[in-house]
Amino acid sequence: MSTTMLSYIKKDSKIHNLTGATKLIFFILWTLASMLTYDTRILIGMFIVSIVIFKISKIKYKDIAFILYFILFFLLLNNIAIFIFSPYEGANIYGSKHELVHLFGSYWVTSQQMFYQFNVTIKYFSVIPMALLFMVTTDPSEFASSLNRLGVSYRISYAVSIALRYIPDIQRDYQDISFAQQARGIDMSKKEKFTTRIKNSSAILMPLIFSSLDRIDTISCAMELRAFGNGKKRTWYNSREFKKYDYIAVTIGILIFITSLCMTFKNGSRFYNPF
């Protein structure tokens, strides 16, 4: 990993100022809406809306570029796998078949299959910006308090925020250890034999795990000295009250979800069929 993974990016924007609970509820509604439909018009609309919301957040493209390329790579693999194992799924769904290009053997590219896989792709595209946005605009501490508000035990919700805080730390440890070991001659690239690379990965993993475990005692003692876990409930420094924009956002999420349901199922099918 040569680029920083996702982590909270502090900025002052309307998206940042929503509570974590609001963003969680909105994201669940958004995901369900995207998941339930294959209606191309809805998916494209959701994609456009997600780009607009992304703009409002003031997050820069380069802040998320690495993880975005990673996701797109797997999306490509996914599309290839769909075609290889079910090249006529689109023809089955849309009830007709227009063969465009013959590839090999029994594999033809059909316009129906391309349309079907376009829907699968745009479905990803409508959700990806919101998923990335959720992580980079939500303070882990405030998010833990939001989970607690939604009914999750504060120990569990705090464990979630601790896990989120660990990610950049462990990633930095991994890079430091990897560079140090490479400076000592450990080679993980393709130049080395396979068995040697496996052995070399242990040279990185062992200190990674040790450095991770090393902090446990320090953190747990510090927290116990501060009386963490003594009570059944706790207050939250980073707690944030629902405000006007929170209610607006949740309402918009509900409207989008209901609109998606109505448009999808009034036709009696999840698929928008232009053929």
């Binding site: 994201f27 797997f74 693999l77 079910s86 464990a159 991994y174 990965s201 747990s220």
Partner: protein, 185 residues
């Protein structure tokens, strides 16, 4: 639970997340260290805490953070064919932990069994889930041998390698009393 345990559990959740991004370049099949980290969480934390660490990992992914394989996240992951393998992480950690907690005397044998059985137990949930999602959600009745070709056969060698690496690492780690007794105190 103790504060100490509450600190180490999300640590392993984070290690699983990091593990999905650490790739060792071998051949066409993606080889990440995610499953390795899941096995380690079961061996080091034990069955209950290990299972909890994977529950937290799954919770983080389900609420939308892109931590599942391939950067996926959100509730829609539930209808992804490969989500069964995420559920199986809970099973892997639990089984690995249970074997470590058993009364077998030979520590090295115990660790190998925990790694091997834990790693391959993911297919108990992963393969049926994959088949069901394809059949009922994606409306695509692919035959079972194709499911095996997609989910099992290409990964056997990679999984055996992970078992070996997990065993070697765990033997070294568990030979240290501090780590072996970490979650018992």
């Amino acid at each position: 639970m103790k504060v100490k345990h509450m600190i180490i559990v999300p640590l392993f959740s984070a290690l699983v997340i990091i593990g999905s991004y650490i790739q060792i370049p071998i051949g066409p099949v993606p080889f990440t260290l995610q499953t390795l980290m899941v096995v380690l969480s079961g061996i080091i934390l034990g069955s209950k805490l290990g299972m909890l660490s994977q529950l937290i990992y799954m919770l983080i992914g389900l609420i939308g953070l892109p931590v599942f394989s391939g950067g996926k996240g959100g509730f829609s992951a539930v209808v992804s064919p490969t989500f069964g393998f995420v559920i199986s992480f809970i099973l892997i950690a639990y089984i690995s932990g249970k074997i470590i907690e058993s009364s077998i005397k030979n520590l090295k044998l115990k660790i190998f069994l925990a790694s091997f059985i834990g790693c391959f137990s993911s297919y108990i949930i992963g393969i049926p889930y994959f088949f069901i999602i394809f059949k009922y959600i994606l409306s695509n009745s692919i035959p079972f041998y194709k499911v095996l070709n997609l989910t099992f056969i290409p990964f056997i060698i990679g999984d055996l390698i992970k078992v070996l690496v997990a065993t070697l690492i765990s033997i070294s780690l568990m030979s240290i009393p501090y780590i072996r007794n970490f979650t018992k105190s």
